[in-house]
C-alpha cells in the first residue's frame, strides 16, 4: 500500500513535471501541432515513442523486464470511434485527460473546466455502456480475429496473451519501428503550414 503510493507519487510527479517542461500542457502548443503550424510536440512524441519502445524491447529481450509487465489493449471498432470523439474535444480544447491535470497544477485555470467536463463525460459513458452493448454491439466487435481477446501487438513481446502480427524476434520489428519514429522526429519540419495573419 505505502509502496504503491510512493511509486504513484514518483512516476505521476515525474510525468506531470515532464509534460509541463515539454509544453504538452500548453493548448497553444497542442493546437499548433494539430493545425500543423508548430510541430514541436509532434517531434517530442514521435521521439519519445520510438526511444521508449527501443528501451522496452531491449529490456524484454535481455530479461530485465518481465513480459508480464506488458499491458496491451484490445483492438475493437470502438477504439477508432472513441478516438474520433476524443479528436473533436482534443482539437477544440487543446488538452488531453492527463495534460489537463498537469496544466491545472502549473496554473492554467481553464483546465479545471476541462476536468469537470471530463468527469461528466466519463460518467456518461459508464451509464450508457449497458445500452451501447445491447444496441450498438458492433462498437465492441474486434477489427482483427487472432484469439479470444485480440490484444494484438506488431512485435513479439513474449507475453502469451499478446499474439504478434510479425512472427520474427520482437527486437527486430521494434528496432525498425523505433528508427522510423526517431528519424521522423528529426526530419519533420518545425511547421508544415503557416497560420493566417489576416484579420
Amino acid at each position: 500500500m505505502l509502496k504503491q503510493i510512493l511509486l504513484g507519487l514518483l512516476f505521476g510527479g515525474a510525468f506531470g513535471f515532464v509534460l509541463h517542461k515539454v509544453q504538452a500542457t500548453d493548448p497553444n502548443k497542442i493546437i499548433g501541432f494539430l493545425r500543423l503550424t508548430d510541430m514541436h510536440l509532434a517531434k517530442v512524441i514521435l521521439f519519445a515513442i520510438g526511444f521508449s519502445s527501443l528501451l522496452l524491447f531491449v529490456g524484454l529481450a535481455i530479461g530485465f523486464i518481465p513480459a508480464s509487465h506488458i499491458h496491451v489493449k484490445a483492438s475493437y471498432i470502438g477504439v477508432i470511434m472513441g478516438g474520433a470523439i476524443f479528436g473533436v474535444g482534443f482539437g477544440l480544447g487543446g488538452y488531453c485527460p492527463g495534460t489537463t491535470v498537469a496544466a491545472w497544477g502549473a496554473g492554467r485555470k481553464d483546465a479545471i473546466f476541462m476536468i469537470l467536463g471530463g468527469l461528466l463525460g466519463a460518467w456518461a459513458f459508464v451509464l450508457s455502456y449497458g445500452w451501447l452493448l445491447n444496441n450498438m454491439s458492433w462498437l465492441f466487435d474486434s477489427v482483427i480475429s487472432i484469439n479470444e481477446t485480440n490484444k494484438v501487438t506488431l512485435a513479439e513481446t513474449g507475453n502469451p496473451k499478446n499474439p504478434a502480427l510479425f512472427s520474427m524476434p520482437g527486437i527486430i520489428v521494434t528496432g525498425v519501428i523505433a528508427i522510423i519514429f526517431m528519424a521522423a522526429a528529426f526530419l519533420l519540419p518545425d511547421q508544415i503550414r503557416s497560420a493566417s495573419t489576416e484579420n
Binding site: 503510493i5 504513484g8 474520433a84 473533436v88 477544440l92 491545472w104 502549473a106 501487438t153
Partner: protein
C-alpha cells in the same frame, strides 16, 4: 526566464518516464482514473453501484449494479473503495508535478493566459464564458471518447505504441483524422 525543453531533450526524458514506469510498475494510463473519481462521488449516493462483499471464507469481492463498473471482477469498484492505489495517486501526483515544474522549473504560465490560452482568444474571442463552456464540452468529449476506446493519449497512444500495440495505432488514427481538420478550421490565426 521561461525554461522549457527542446524537442530532443524533451523526447528523451518523456521516453525515459514511459519506459521506467512500464519497467518498474506498469504502462502509464490516465483516463481510467476519471471513472474512479466519478465512482468516489456518485457511488456514495447510490451504494448499489459499489458493493464490497466479504464472503464466508473471509475473501472480499467487489460488484456493481452497473455493467461497466462490474467489469473485470469489479476492479473499478475496488479502486474506488481503496483510492490509495497506484493509478489514482499517480494522477494527483501529476498535478503536483505540473505545479513544481511551473514554480521551480522556471516555466510559469503568462498572467494573461491563466484562464484563456492565446490561440483561443485570438481566434474565438476573449469571452470567459465561451472558453469555459468550450473547455467543458471538450473535456466531456475526450473522456467519453477515451472510455469508449479504452484509453487516451497516454494509455493508447504513448504506452500503446511503445508496446507496438495495434490498438495504439488505431486510436491515433481516429484522433488525428478528426482533430487536425477541426483545429485547422477553428483556429485560423
Amino acid at each position: 526566464m521561461n525554461q522549457t525543453w527542446g524537442w530532443l531533450k524533451g523526447g528523451i526524458i518523456l521516453g525515459l518516464v514511459f519506459f521506467a514506469a512500464a519497467a518498474v510498475v506498469k504502462p502509464i494510463g490516465v483516463s481510467t482514473q476519471y471513472v474512479i473519481a466519478d465512482c468516489l462521488i456518485f457511488c456514495s449516493i447510490t451504494p448499489d453501484l459499489a458493493q464490497e462483499i466479504t464472503q464466508e471464507d473471509g475473501s472480499v469481492i467487489y460488484k456493481s449494479s452497473n455493467p461497466y463498473l462490474n467489469k473485470s471482477k469489479g476492479k473499478y469498484v475496488k479502486a474506488a473503495k481503496k483510492p490509495g492505489n497506484y493509478g489514482f495517486v499517480f494522477v494527483f501526483a501529476m498535478f503536483i508535478g505540473g505545479w513544481l515544474a511551473a514554480k521551480f522549473g522556471n516555466a510559469k504560465i503568462p498572467n494573461d493566459e491563466k484562464w484563456i490560452p492565446r490561440v483561443w482568444s485570438e481566434n474565438l474571442g476573449a469571452s470567459w464564458g465561451k472558453r469555459m463552456t468550450g473547455a467543458f464540452i471538450a473535456g466531456f468529449m475526450i473522456l467519453f471518447g477515451a472510455r469508449l476506446a479504452g484509453g487516451c493519449t497516454s494509455g493508447h497512444m504513448m504506452s500503446g505504441m511503445m508496446q507496438t500495440s495495434l490498438s495504439g495505432y488505431l486510436f491515433a488514427m481516429g484522433v488525428f483524422v478528426i482533430a487536425v481538420p477541426i483545429s485547422i478550421i477553428l483556429f485560423r490565426r
